[in-house]
C-alpha cells in the first residue's frame, strides 16, 4: 500500500512529483488538494481555470497521459508520476500554437475564462481525429461551456486549426 512515494502516516502534506509540459515538477499537496488547485497554487500554472468544481464546465480540462480530464475531479496525489499538459505548454515562446491562432482569428473567445479548457480539449480531439466533422467537433466539445461567444466561432476555429495542422503535416502535439 502506498501514497505516491510517501508513507500513509504523513497525511498532512505529501510530496507530489509530476511532469508538466515536459518538465519535472514537484510540490506539496494534502490528500484532499484537487489537481486544479495544485497546478494553480502550488506550481503557479494559473492558465488552468476553475469554474464549477463539479465537472460540468470544462474550464479546468488538462491532458493526462494524452487524454483530456477534469483537473477539478482528481486529487493532486493521484497525478503522481503522470504526464500532464496544460495550456501553458501550447505556445512556443512568443509563437502561439496553431489552435490558439485559430481561436484568435475566428473570434472564438471573449473573456477567455473557458478558453484554456477548450484549447486542451481541442488539442486532444485533433490528436485523435485530424479532420473532424462539425458534428464530431460539437460532440467532443459538448463538455465545455462558454458563456460569451456562442459556439459558432469556436467550431470554426477548430475547423481552421485542423486545417492548419494538416497543412503542417503534424499532430496537435508534435508541431
Amino acid at each position: 500500500m502506498s501514497v505516491q512515494e510517501t508513507s500513509t502516516d504523513a497525511q498532512d502534506d505529501l510530496v507530489v512529483q509530476v511532469r508538466v509540459n515536459g518538465e519535472s515538477r514537484r510540490g506539496f499537496a494534502e490528500p484532499r488538494t484537487l489537481l486544479s488547485d495544485f497546478l494553480r497554487h502550488e506550481l503557479g500554472l494559473t492558465g488552468t481555470h476553475v469554474g464549477c468544481e463539479h465537472g460540468v464546465c470544462g474550464a479546468c480540462t488538462v491532458l493526462i497521459d494524452g487524454e483530456p480530464v477534469r483537473s477539478c475531479l482528481m486529487f493532486a496525489v493521484q497525478a503522481g508520476g503522470k504526464e500532464i499538459e496544460t495550456v501553458e505548454g501550447l505556445a512556443k515562446g512568443a509563437e502561439m500554437h496553431p489552435i490558439q491562432q485559430a481561436f484568435q482569428e475566428n473570434h472564438a473567445l471573449q473573456c477567455a475564462f473557458c478558453t484554456p479548457g477548450f484549447l486542451m480539449t481541442v488539442s486532444a480531439l485533433l490528436d485523435t481525429n485530424p479532420d473532424p466533422s462539425e458534428d464530431e467537433i460539437r460532440e467532443y466539445l459538448s463538455g465545455n461551456v462558454c458563456r460569451c461567444t456562442g459556439y459558432v466561432g469556436i467550431v470554426a476555429a477548430v475547423q481552421s486549426a485542423a486545417k492548419k495542422l494538416r497543412d503542417q503535416g503534424g499532430t496537435a502535439d508534435e508541431r
Binding site: 500500500m1 502506498s2 501514497v3 505516491q4 500513509t8 497525511q11 494534502e30 490528500p31 484532499r32 484537487l34 488547485d37 468544481e53 463539479h54 465537472g55 470544462g58 480540462t61 487524454e67 483530456p68 480530464v69 477534469r70 477539478c72 475531479l73 482528481m74 486529487f75 496525489v77 493521484q78 480539449t121 486532444a124 460539437r138 460532440e139 467532443y140 459538448s142 463538455g143 465545455n144
Partner: protein, 287 residues
C-alpha cells in the same frame, strides 16, 4: 468548495481494500474514477474520513472475452470500453457509452463505478438490465454473482454489502439481434430526462422475445415487463407498437424534478419506446 480532510490510502490488492472496508465501515469510501464521488466531496455532500483509492489495482482493469461472456473489470475506464475492439461484438455498449457525459469524464470515469453509483438516470445500469448482465461482487467471503435484475435497489442504492466491492461485470455475448439505444437529454452529455435500451429477437416479422429497459423514470432502471410480454408473437409495428408504448408508460409513475415533470417523463417513455423499437427493427433489416 473543497473536500473535507480525509485519510488517503492506495491499496495494491483487493484483499487490502476489503480489510480497510471492514476496519472503517461507513467512514470509508472507495474511489474509482471520481467523476461522481469527487464532485460530491467538493460540495461536501460526501465526507468520507477514509478514502480508499482503487486506482492502484491494475488487476481490476481490462476486458476479457470469454466466449459466451465478455467480462469487463470494474476499473476499466468508460472510454476504454467504448473504444475496445472486443466490444464491437456488442455494439449497443459503445452506443450507450457515447451518451454518458463527455469524453473528458469518460476518460477517467470507470465502467464499474458508474454501475455501483446506481444513478437512476444513468445509461449503464439500464443497459445491464437489458443485456441481462451479471455483477460480480467481491467480499470477505469471496465472490458473489448478482444478476442485474437483483442489483439495483433504489436511488443510488445497490445490493452490494458495505463490506463488498464490485469487481467486474459479465455480459452474455449471445443477445437478440435487433437493438437500439436512445435517450432525450437537454444537452448532449447531460443526464437523460428519460432513455431506453431495447433488444428484440425478430423472426418472420414476429417478436420471439423483447427486452425494453428504461432509465430516468423511476428510482432504479426498470424493465417494461408487461410491454415485453405483450410484444411476444406479434409484429411490433403500427397499432401493436402503439399499444406496447401505452402499456410501458402506464406501468410507470416517474417523479418530477427541476428538469422535467413526472407526467412529461411518462409520456416521453412511450415516445422513446416507439422510436427505439422502430430503430431496432430498421437496423435488423439492414442486417
Amino acid at each position: 468548495m473543497k473536500p473535507a480532510p480525509f485519510k488517503y490510502v492506495v491499496p495494491d490488492t483487493v484483499d487490502e481494500v476489503l480489510a480497510l472496508q471492514a476496519e472503517h465501515e461507513d467512514e470509508a469510501k472507495v474511489l474509482a474514477g471520481g467523476q461522481s464521488l469527487v464532485a460530491l466531496m467538493n460540495f461536501r455532500m460526501a465526507q468520507p474520513s477514509v478514502l480508499i483509492d482503487l486506482n492502484g489495482l491494475t488487476s481490476l482493469s481490462g476486458i476479457e472475452n470469454g466466449g459466451p461472456v465478455i467480462e469487463i473489470k470494474a476499473l476499466t475506464r468508460q472510454l476504454e470500453v467504448e473504444r475496445s475492439a472486443t466490444m464491437t461484438a456488442l455494439p449497443i455498449v459503445a452506443e450507450a457509452l457515447r451518451h454518458v457525459a463527455h469524453v473528458a469524464i469518460r476518460a477517467r470515469g470507470t465502467f464499474g463505478g458508474n454501475i455501483a453509483h446506481a444513478d437512476p438516470a444513468s445509461e449503464l445500469p439500464a443497459l445491464m438490465l437489458a443485456l441481462e448482465a451479471e455483477m460480480v461482487a467481491t467480499g470477505p467471503d469471496g465472490e458473489r454473482v448478482i444478476p442485474a435484475a437483483d442489483f439495483f435497489k433504489g436511488y443510488f442504492t445497490t445490493s452490494l454489502e458495505p463490506t463488498e466491492i464490485l469487481t467486474s461485470v459479465r455480459i452474455p455475448t449471445k443477445q437478440p439481434g435487433a437493438w437500439a439505444f436512445m435517450e432525450l437529454a437537454r444537452r448532449h452529455g447531460d443526464f437523460a430526462l428519460a432513455g431506453v435500451a431495447t433488444l428484440l429477437d425478430v423472426e418472420d416479422g414476429r417478436c420471439r422475445s423483447a427486452r425494453i429497459a428504461l432509465f430516468g423514470v423511476a428510482d432504479t432502471p426498470v424493465r417494461a415487463t408487461e410491454a415485453e410480454a405483450f410484444l411476444v408473437g406479434k409484429d411490433p409495428v403500427g397499432e401493436v407498437l402503439e399499444e406496447a408504448a401505452r402499456i410501458t408508460a402506464e406501468a410507470l409513475n416517474p417523479s418530477s424534478d427541476i428538469h422535467a415533470p413526472g407526467a412529461y417523463r411518462k409520456k416521453l417513455s412511450s415516445v422513446l419506446v416507439k422510436r427505439a423499437v422502430t430503430a431496432a427493427l430498421n437496423r435488423g433489416d439492414m442486417g
